[in-house]
């Protein structure tokens, strides 16, 4: 198979991380890339320009490269997360920890989670992934002690997991609303939710008499032959007379 079975069912956590890494994050550059802007502005660059200066410039395909072109030491700018991590690795920047990923921010979320037993706090959809990545790769950029933050993330995870478990009691054949659930949370629940709901849907559909005469009970003897036959689009074996059999 060109795609492993498990990946046909859901994303791998690494792929979720990949998706999240396309998000923007703020950094403090430790280098200045902005230079000779006056010289450039008068020049009409084209593809044939193999000038060394030019060729070493940033030309990105997944983001607007201007932010990278114009980095100035300690002047905050916004880049995609994966790039921020790369720069960080090269000691070229510090990552500005997002507001919610502080003791204060997480405590607020925890409070909300505790007060509203039926709701999820409005953590960003990538909270679990971003926090894990930054703990690991940008530990020195935090002002708060990491273990304190980790504990809170863990608490949030658990309290939300409890709510998820409650919510799963309401799985049904129709639909569910899952606002504020993070992508990693969704992703790990996906196989369970989809499988159970798909099966509930099939069971429900099987119990429904989908004939057109459904609402008019036994109004006409003529229907017994044809009308009551098709009872499910799933299974053509439905061309079977309704030997009334009920529970």
């Amino acid at each position: 198979m060109s795609l492993p079975g498990r990946l046909q069912e859901t994303f791998s956590p690494e792929e979720v991380q990949f998706i999240v890494e396309n998000q923007k994050i703020k950094i403090f550059p430790r280098i200045t890339t902005s230079k000779k802007r006056g010289g450039d502005s008068s020049r009409n660059n084209n593809n044939n320009n193999t000038d060394n200066e030019d060729m070493s410039r940033w030309r990105m395909l997944t983001m607007d490269g201007r932010a990278l072109e114009n980095m100035i030491v300690m002047k905050s700018t916004e880049v995609t997360l994966w790039l921020a991590l790369l720069l960080k690795q090269q000691s070229k920047c510090n990552i500005i920890i997002p507001e919610w990923l502080t003791i204060k921010g997480l405590d607020l979320m925890l409070q909300y989670e505790k007060r509203n037993i039926e709701r999820f706090s409005a953590l960003p959809w990538d909270w679990l992934v971003v926090s894990e990545i930054l703990f690991k790769q940008a530990a020195d950029d935090f002002n708060d002690p990491i273990y304190e933050l980790r504990n809170r993330i863990q608490d949030l995870k658990e309290i939300r997991q409890m709510k998820v478990l409650q919510g799963l009691k309401n799985l049904n054949e129709s639909h569910m609303q899952l606002d504020n659930l993070g992508l990693l949370e969704i992703n790990e629940l996906r196989p369970f939710i989809v499988r159970v709901m798909d099966k509930l849907r099939q069971i429900h559909a099987s119990g429904i008499d989908t004939t057109e005469t459904e609402n008019q009970d036994y109004d006409d003897d003529n229907d017994i032959g044809m009308g009551t036959m098709i009872s499910s689009d799933r299974d053509a074996s439905s061309s079977i007379p309704p030997n009334a059999m009920s529970f």
Binding site: I19, S42, N47, N52, M55, T62, S174, N180, D235
Partner: protein, 306 residues
Amino acid sequence: MDVDIEDILAELNTDSTAVDYSGNNNPLSDIANTNVSTLYNSSYPDDKNIPTNKNPPGVRSNTKISAEQDYSSLMTLWRNERCSPELLPYPHHLMSRMLMRIQDQLERLEIISMDFMGQNSNTIDNSNKPINNNNMLPLLCMEAELERIKFIIRSYIRCRLSKIDKFSLYLRQIEQDSNLKSLDDLLSKDEMIYYQRHSEMILKLFNDTTLKHLPPELQAINDTTGTISMIDEPDWNKFVFIKVIGPNDKMLNSDPLLKKDSNNKFFYEVIIPELEEDVELFIDSIYVMRYNVIKNLLLDGKVILI
């Protein structure tokens, strides 16, 4: 790679391969403003920021699509493809722009690294060691980025190929039922070749190993008249996770499908036919919903699969 860059490049006007590196204020956003203009051959939008997705095939507009926009469209398409039970239309134009840019970037990176090779007699090590020479940094980042793009394209194509394998008989049925055009929209040229060769080979294998030894009336592999159809169709009602995005132009008031509730929140109203149930899908909310119910919203880019 299953997509042949050469083919695509050959098709295009030679000028178009020269990615415009224009603009003093915006020197870095690639602009594909040549013959490649429509986003899609079908009405499937591949960019939420571009309102021209309804252009019929062949209509040329001068919409400029930045590399960044294309990439974000590709991410969405990849995620949609991975989550949807059926094979979604192939984004011909977007992919050709994407591959063109990759090709261009590759050449560019080669030139840059050759320059460095010339400068430093030492071989350059692009691994994770800190790079002292700041001039190397863009190269490192661009290479890393290219790997990410390649990954996403590979994964996207792999996912599509697995569906082409799975639904090869079903695709054949589509091919016969409707005109060939629809399959051309659904598959890329290379996918089409793959699909045709693959189903030929499978059929030959079935025939040689088993079918030819059976009586003729038992040789069918695509009989749909029995109790169970032999052709596997996508599970149209499969549950998928969706996020409601809204119209491409973000003009909530001008989308005729959007309704407002008492709190002035916008929603799409959908019907689950089997249950005769109306459901309100609010903008920015996440739902688990039957694929068939949201399929049209998905193709219009108003919801995405997550």
